[in-house]
Symmetry: C2
Subunit: 395 residues, 2 copies
């Protein structure tokens, strides 16, 4: 039988990048291509203790159907946390627990975006979000990123030209893949534009808590007095991605609709994961845990940047990072980026992600690639960068 | 700010039934309205042992990102199980692990149904699936159910009149809410019609393994030689709904597309849940476990049916059940069903689900209500039925 998929889904084809990433599983491959948290950052003993405790004391709650909004105690914990630490839970807001932050992108698009409606994104941006938007047939419009975040003139131009824009999607902290953090000034400017044009801001903040240098900047959500911002949070980078626990904060009316959408998607997020997360927040010193994680990433990021200085010289430039998981590197214009990445993976057994993966149009000119320092070991960082150094000599 | 949701989502409003179900949390309420498995049916000790073992021996796999298709060992286990026990995994098939079977309905609709395309459903049918279909703007067409499953003439008429039908949705075993099991003859007839009209069958089988009387009937999937059937399986009723583990089996090309869709929805299903499920299937005698569950439900179902015979007399009729979780009851035509259910919950503190909840058009004439015997205790079954008996005397 010939199957006829919907137009939006039929065009969600595996990309050229996936072809390159296939080599990642070759024995001896060093992967700088992943986006996984460091295995050393998992609080294994705490999770083991907490899980045993839950299954002994409260097994039925962990195993039975739960409500779509999320496990009550965890919702309360996160409302309080986000209010006290980040001033990001307002009096008209609600919070829903989701199956990872990825589900927030899915539900927001489902709730707001008719086929052909516009979503304004940073350019480049996270491929997982782009594909969620694409899966609903959204019209994607990219806005360039300066050193301090989205270019405001380009954003206003995009809003002007796309009156069917439903939301502005941004990763304000340690943006994936560019590593850029948006300045407070720009956060205010974007908020003002969103208000002017009556467009929602979808603030995706998976990396905000893993800042290992510099100072925290307040969230866009904390500026929100008009119910304009939906904030997506995640435990994937600070606790465990395998547990699939994220959350969304926004105006009550929006969260109510996201709840209806979630009910038809997966009924509720795994109950045990939610209970483990809540107990972790309640019984472990979360700030100290974050400090441990930040120390791991600081060390690895600094190591990779030192190695880049040593092996890339002035041939490849990169953005210094103060947090997150990624470094965005730029090749000279005369070097073919895809060719460089292909040689890296085939000849040097080092996997990188070609920058085109993060573009709305993968065929656009692009000289960047993304590296990750959280997944590889220090030894792998050293070896991999040495091998990339050999390749750099050839260009 | 005024929010503008998509047309399909804006119309997914809380229904009249939800208003009634709100009373369910009133103290002293006996709920026959839920669809939860019996807490006694959870193998708590096994899950506790298995979980501890996983977190001690293989914590990183449980906590790290996993692949979208699902945990490899569990996929292999289920392919073998479904092939050997149910002959329901063909040589062109693949299997994807989903976040409950609800996600299969979501992904199938996303992959196949453009706004306005038709899905043919049993009438009545599971509200969770109806809402998943509605959330993508599907045109829903209902087909009456006879004592042995979908009416074949009505189905052919529906297929004839709706040439944009993308799939036929059926729950062939212990259908929710009607309790009806489709005969083998009808399964063959539906398959033949699907083939004739080039339409996929979405076979939803959450209750198939909890047959406590009568004989198993082969799945529609086992008849599939043309890649026409997508089978949705679930661990919610046989292990734990809180873990959110389901799966879909279908032609490789379909499962590949569902995988792309799932990646944008929630990346992957909770890793720990998948590992627990796999270890349960491998280290526990699953058939014996099913026998235990069936014994629990047989006892409760028989008790509820005996009580119905006693208290309903010939005023309310019901379908005898051989499995599943629900009994479908029919009031005399002159009794207002919604009024009866409202009185039950308000005056007698017994929650029922009005049959209209399971209709495509909730305003259609309906004299049925659904009861559930798996969630209440035996004591609650007795008390609740006594109270309903008082109400029955008044009609």
């Amino acid at each position: 039988m010939d199957y006829k998929f919907t137009e939006s889904i039929a065009s969600l084809a595996p990309s050229a990048i996936r072809e390159i990433l296939k080599y990642s599983s070759v024995p001896g491959m060093i992967s700088f291509a992943a986006g996984n948290p460091s295995p050393e950052a998992f609080p294994i003993k705490d999770i083991e203790r907490i899980t045993q405790n839950i299954l002994q004391k409260n097994p039925i709650t962990a195993l039975q159907y739960s409500i779509t909004e999320g496990y009550g105690p965890l919702r309360d914990t996160m409302k309080q946390y986000m209010k006290e630490k980040w001033n990001s839970f307002g009096e008209n807001d609600e919070l829903i627990i989701t199956s990872g932050a990825q589900q927030v992108m899915d539900l927001m698009t489902k709730a707001f975006v008719e086929k052909g409606d516009t979503i304004i994104c940073e350019k480049p941006t996270f491929i997982g979000s782009l594909n969620a938007f694409r899966s609903y047939g959204a019209n994607l419009v990219g806005v360039e990123i300066d050193d301090d975040g989205m270019n405001i003139d380009s954003l206003e131009k995009a809003l002007n030209e796309n009156r069917n824009a439903k939301f502005i999607y941004t990763i304000p902290n340690f943006q994936n893949p560019s590593g850029v953090t948006m300045s407070l000034e720009k956060r205010k400017a974007i908020y003002a534009l969103a208000k002017k044009y009556g467009v929602i801001i979808l603030e995706d903040n998976p990396y905000g808590e893993i800042r290992f240098a510099g100072k925290d900047i307040q969230t866009i959500k904390s500026l929100d007095t008009d119910g304009l911002v939906v904030y997506a949070g995640s435990f994937s980078k600070v606790l465990s991605p395998g547990m699939r626990v994220g959350y969304a904060i926004g105006d009550k009316r929006i969260i109510a609709k996201l709840t209806v959408c979630k009910q038809t998607s997966d009924v509720h997020t795994t109950a045990l994961s939610q209970m483990i997360t809540d107990e972790f927040m309640k019984t472990v010193d979360f700030e100290k845990h974050l400090q441990n994680i930040r120390a791991i990433y600081r060390k690895k990021a600094n190591l990779m940047m030192d190695l880049m200085d040593e092996y890339f010289g002035d041939k490849i430039t990169y953005n210094k990072v103060e947090g997150g998981l990624f470094i965005w590197c730029k090749l000279p214009k005369q070097v073919d980026m895809m060719d460089f990445c292909t040689k890296a993976v085939k000849d040097k057994k080092v996997a990188l992600v070609p920058g085109t993966a993060f573009l709305i149009n993968e065929n656009e000119e692009c000289h960047e690639f993304r590296t990750n320092y959280s997944t590889p070991t220090e030894q792998q960082l050293i070896e991999g960068m040495q091998k990339l150094g050999e390749l750099v000599k050839e260009i």
